[in-house]
C-alpha cells in the first residue's frame, strides 16, 4: 500500500536502481523489502534464461537417443534391481557394519587411558581419512594379493574390507565425539551402582551417544553407498556386479548411455530415503532435549 508506485510499475523483474538508500528510517525499511523482491525476481529471471537456453541450444533428439532410450532402459530390468541394486546394498551394508565395528573399537581406543592405544587409533584415523577410496580399493584388490601369496580372499570380502576401511576412520571420529558429549555424571552414576567401566560404556554411554551419532552415521551410509561403486574396478562375475559395474557393462553392450541414467536413478532410490532418515533423526535427536542430562 505504501510501496512507491514506481516499483509497482516496474514489476519484480524490472531493473531498479536503489535510490532511497540514504533516506530516513521508514523509507529505508521499505527499500529493504523492495530489494528482497528485486533479488528474488533476478534469481527467477536467471533460472528462466538458463532453462530457455538449454531448451533451445540442446540437441534434444540426439540427447534422448543417447541417454533416454526407453527400450534399453526396460531391457535392463529386472537384473538391475534383483542383481545390481541388491549387490550395491549388500556391499554397502556389509562394509558399513564392519566399518562400524572397527569405528567403535577405534573410538574406544582414542578414549583409552593407555597411550599406545590412543596413538594407534590416531594414526589409523589420520591415515585412512587422508586416502582416496579409490586408492584403498586398488591396494586391497590388486596390491595385497600381489604382495602376499595367501591373500586371495573372495571378492565380496575384499569389497567389504575396503569399504570398512574407507568408512571406519570417519565414523570413529563421529562416535568419539558422541561418546564425549555424554555427561561424565552418567558414567559416575553407573560406576557407583557397581557397573564395570565397559558395562557402563555399553549399557549407559553408547546408547545415549547413539542419539548424537546416528544422524552423521546415516550421512556416512549415503557416502558409502556411492563409494561402493568403486567395486567395479575390481571386476566381477556377471552376478557379482553392482550398479556401476552393470552400467559400464550395459554401456559397452548397447553402445548407448541410457544405462547410466537408470543406474543413477537406482542410486537415488537408496540415497534419498537415507537422507530423509538422516533429517528425521536429526530433528528427533539433534535438538536441545535429547534426553541426555
Amino acid at each position: 500500500m505504501s510501496t512507491p508506485p514506481a516499483s509497482q510499475q516496474r514489476g519484480p523483474t524490472g531493473p531498479t536502481a536503489p535510490t532511497a538508500t540514504a533516506d530516513a528510517t521508514p523509507k529505508a525499511k521499505m527499500s529493504k523489502r523492495q530489494k528482497a523482491k528485486l533479488s528474488r525476481g533476478i534469481q527467477y529471471a536467471i533460472l528462466i534464461v538458463i532453462a530457455v537456453v538449454i531448451a533451445v541450444v540442446a540437441d534434444w533428439p540426439t540427447l534422448i537417443d543417447t541417454f533416454g532410450r526407453i527400450d534399453i532402459a526396460i531391457g535392463m530390468f529386472p537384473d538391475v534391481i534383483t542383481k545390481a541394486l541388491k549387490n550395491t546394498v549388500v556391499f554397502t551394508g556389509l562394509g558399513f557394519v564392519l566399518g562400524l565395528a572397527i569405528a567403535i573399537v577405534l573410538a574406544l581406543m582414542r578414549l583409552s587411558s593407555v597411550g599406545v592405544y590412543r596413538w594407534l587409533a590416531f594414526v589409523y584415523t589420520e591415515f585412512f581419512r587422508g586416502l582416496p577410496a579409490l586408492v584403498v580399493f586398488l591396494v586391497m584388490g590388486f596390491g595385497l594379493p600381489l604382495a602376499f601369496k595367501g591373500f586371495n580372499l573372495p571378492q565380496l570380502i575384499i569389497i567389504m574390507i575396503a569399504l570398512a576401511l574407507v568408512s571406519s576412520a570417519y565414523m570413529a571420529e563421529t562416535i568419539r565425539a558422541g561418546i564425549q558429549a555424554v555427561p561424565k555424571g552418567q558414567v559416575e552414576a553407573a560406576r557407583s551402582l557397581g557397573m564395570s567401566s565397559s558395562r557402563a560404556m555399553f549399557t549407559i554411554v553408547l546408547p545415549q551417544a547413539m542419539r548424537i551419532i546416528l544422524p552423521p552415521l546415516t550421512n556416512e551410509l549415503i557416502l558409502l553407498t556411492k563409494d561402493s561403486s568403486l567395486a567395479y574396478i575390481l571386476g566381477s562375475s556377471v552376478d557379482g556386479r553392482e550398479l556401476t559395474a552393470l552400467a559400464r557393462a550395459e554401456i559397452v553392450n548397447t553402445a548407448n548411455l541410457t544405462p547410466f541414467i537408470v543406474v543413477a536413478l537406482c542410486y537415488l532410490v537408496i540415497t534419498i530415503p537415507l537422507s530423509y532418515l538422516s533429517r528425521v533423526l536429526e530433528k528427533k535427536y539433534g535438538s536441545a532435549d535429547s534426553g541426555v542430562k
Binding site: P183, G185, Q186, E188, A189, A190, R191, S192, L193, G194, M195, S196, R199, T203, I204, P207, Q208, R211, D289, S290, G291, V292, K293
Partner: protein, 261 residues
C-alpha cells in the same frame, strides 16, 4: 524420637566406614590434607563446609570414584584402596546420590532402578521389578514408574535417584548436596525422603547446606574447610555452639546470609 530410634539400631564396635589419614591431590593441588572420620552403622553424618573445601572429593573417595593418594578407607570391612578388591562388587554396597541426579536419560524410571540390579547383581527381571516398585513407593513416586526422567521435576528426579541407589540394597548411602540443584519448592520432598531413610536406620553421609536438616536429622555434624576436618560433633554443638572461629564464620554466612554477605 528420631535420635532414640537410630541409637537403638546403631551397633557399637567397629565403624562401618573408617577413614584414616585420607589424602587426595589433583596434580600438585592438594585437596584433602589429612581426613580421619568414623561412621557407625545406622549413624547419620552431615558434612558441611564452604564450597571448594573438599567435601565432594572426600565423599567420592569413599566409593573410590576418586582414587585417594594417601591414607586408608575401610567400608564394611572392605579395604577400598586395596588393588585386589573387587571394586565393582564393593560399590554395590555403597549407594551414591549426586547433586545433578545423573539419572540415565535413555531409560525409563523403572529401567533406571532395575538396570544395575539385573546386570550387576544378576537379579531376575521379576525380582528387580519388585525391588524397584518397593523403593519407588518409598520415595512416593510409584505412579512415575514408566516415565522418562526428562519429564520429571528436579525433586522427582532426585527421589528417583535415591530409589535407584536403594534398589541395590546398599549398607551405606552417600549424598553429595542432593538438594543444591533443586527449585526451593521441591527441596522439602527430597529431605523428607532422606529423613525417612534415616529413621529406618540407614547409615548416611550427607554433604549438605541444609542446616535445618542437619540439626534435626544428623547424629553428627562434620565441618570441613581447606581439606581438613575443622570441627566434628553432635549437631547441637557444631551448629548450635561452634568452638572454632572458621566454623563460626561459615555458619554466620550460611545462617544469616544478609548480614555478612
Amino acid at each position: 524420637m528420631t535420635t532414640s530410634a537410630t541409637a537403638s539400631l546403631r551397633e557399637t564396635g567397629t565403624p562401618i566406614i573408617a577413614i584414616r589419614n585420607l589424602q587426595k591431590s589433583f596434580g600438585s593441588n592438594q585437596v584433602l590434607t589429612d581426613i580421619s572420620l568414623d561412621v557407625d552403622k545406622g549413624e547419620v553424618v552431615c558434612v558441611i563446609g564452604p564450597s571448594g573445601s573438599g567435601k565432594s572429593t572426600m565423599l567420592r573417595c569413599i566409593n573410590v570414584l576418586e582414587d585417594p593418594t594417601g591414607g586408608s578407607i575401610v567400608v564394611d570391612g572392605m579395604d577400598m584402596t586395596d588393588l585386589d578388591l573387587d571394586i565393582d562388587a564393593a560399590r554395590t554396597r555403597i549407594g551414591m546420590v549426586f547433586q545433578s541426579f545423573n539419572l540415565f536419560g535413555h531409560l525409563t524410571v523403572r529401567e533406571n532402578l532395575t538396570v544395575a540390579q539385573i546386570k550387576v547383581l544378576r537379579r531376575s527381571k521379576a525380582e528387580a521389578d519388585r525391588v524397584a516398585e518397593e523403593n519407588l513407593a518409598k520415595v512416593g513416586l510409584s505412579e512415575k514408574i514408566d516415565a522418562k526422567p526428562s519429564s520429571l521435576s528436579g525433586g522427582q528426579q532426585q527421589r528417583v535417584a535415591i530409589a535407584r541407589a536403594l534398589s541395590m540394597d546398599p549398607d551405606v548411602m552417600l549424598f553429595d548436596e542432593p538438594t543444591s540443584a533443586l527449585d526451593p519448592e521441591t527441596v522439602g520432598d527430597v529431605l523428607q525422603v532422606m529423613r525417612n531413610l534415616a529413621e529406618a536406620g540407614m547409615t548416611m553421609v550427607v554433604v549438605t547446606h541444609e542446616m535445618e536438616f542437619a540439626r534435626q536429622v544428623a547424629d553428627r555434624v562434620v565441618f570441613m574447610d581447606g581439606g581438613v576436618v575443622v570441627e566434628s560433633g553432635p549437631a547441637k554443638d557444631v551448629i548450635g555452639d561452634p568452638q572454632e572461629q572458621r566454623t563460626k564464620d561459615f555458619l554466620a554466612r550460611v545462617l544469616h546470609p544478609g548480614q555478612l554477605g
